[in-house]
Symmetry: C2
Subunit: 137 residues, 2 copies
DNA sequence: AACTAAATCAGTAATGATTACTGTTATTAT
DNA sequence: ATAATAACAGTAATCATTACTGATTTAGTT
């Protein structure tokens, strides 16, 4: 199952590289429709999962969203999900100091802790501004 | 939409109280089948969500599991998900010191951070023991 | 450049957890 | 008791994702 080159996969990867909004499979699909009019949604899913499996991109899963998002940036960083518009936003690097979190959790636990999933929720800047305008009107 | 009493909801709540394994809706459903042979899976889902909405139980959502789990214990505590058997296990209270986590994340972010979702992954005790036995055999 | 094996494709069907709908039954306040 | 409405069981629908299919691309080998 060695990975062969494919124009579709290359396009999916480079599309992801141009975006900072962590698109869903559906969004990647519609973004590639102009270049590949016949591309299949299944192809997008398969390649995104393959790329994630290979560690070339990151698959972001937020329990309360129920939709997978994909990130070209595989470096360790945190995400924020807006409760209102569901936007997925990167948090600045200052917040990336969660190194000791696994060790803290391991205290008194008899299983093997290998990692954690963490993301933040709230209201994004855009929705805050929109909400302020709504109050005035 | 004031909440009326129902035998089914009461049974669901007390069933959840007896369990420490954070059952899924399906598991609650099959657990109540002997007492309520005609209970509907939809009823279980509706009541679990209602109880969670009312803050009487907690709905646990793990992105990579894709199945909701429910917890009678609504006090703040952390969960561990086994990558092998998918068991959901409580972490001891010592690990509950993540109070400053939201403030740390808010540094340099212009949205409003209202909370976070956090859980740990790894191999549970049972699977570790089973794995060790497998190596011997 | 032709040949072959395997990966990938587009298209479509299936999956599985969850939610929505419908006509009936149970609960609660008057 | 009665009336209003929440909740029920049963079933159908939803929706993101995965699996299946026969045709097409890719890439190493002659």
């Amino acid at each position: 199952m060695a990975m062969k080159f494919s124009r579709q996969r290359a396009a999916i990867l480079s599309f992801l590289q141009t975006r900072k909004d962590h698109p869903t499979a559906e969004l990647v699909y519609s973004g590639l429709k102009s270049e590949f009019p016949n591309i299949s949604l299944g192809t997008v899913y398969r390649n995104l999962n393959q790329l994630a499996e290979a560690g070339m991109i990151a698959k972001l899963q937020f329990g309360d969203l129920g939709i997978d998002h994909f990130d070209y940036d595989t470096a360790a960083h945190q995400h924020f999900v807006c409760n209102q518009c569901n936007a997925v936003i990167d948090l600045p690097a200052e917040s990336n100091s969660y190194a000791d979190i696994d060790e803290r959790a391991a205290q008194g636990f008899d299983g093997k802790i290998m990692g954690h999933k963490l993301y933040f929720c709230g209201i994004c800047r855009e929705c805050l501004l929109k909400g302020a305008c709504d109050e005035v009107n």
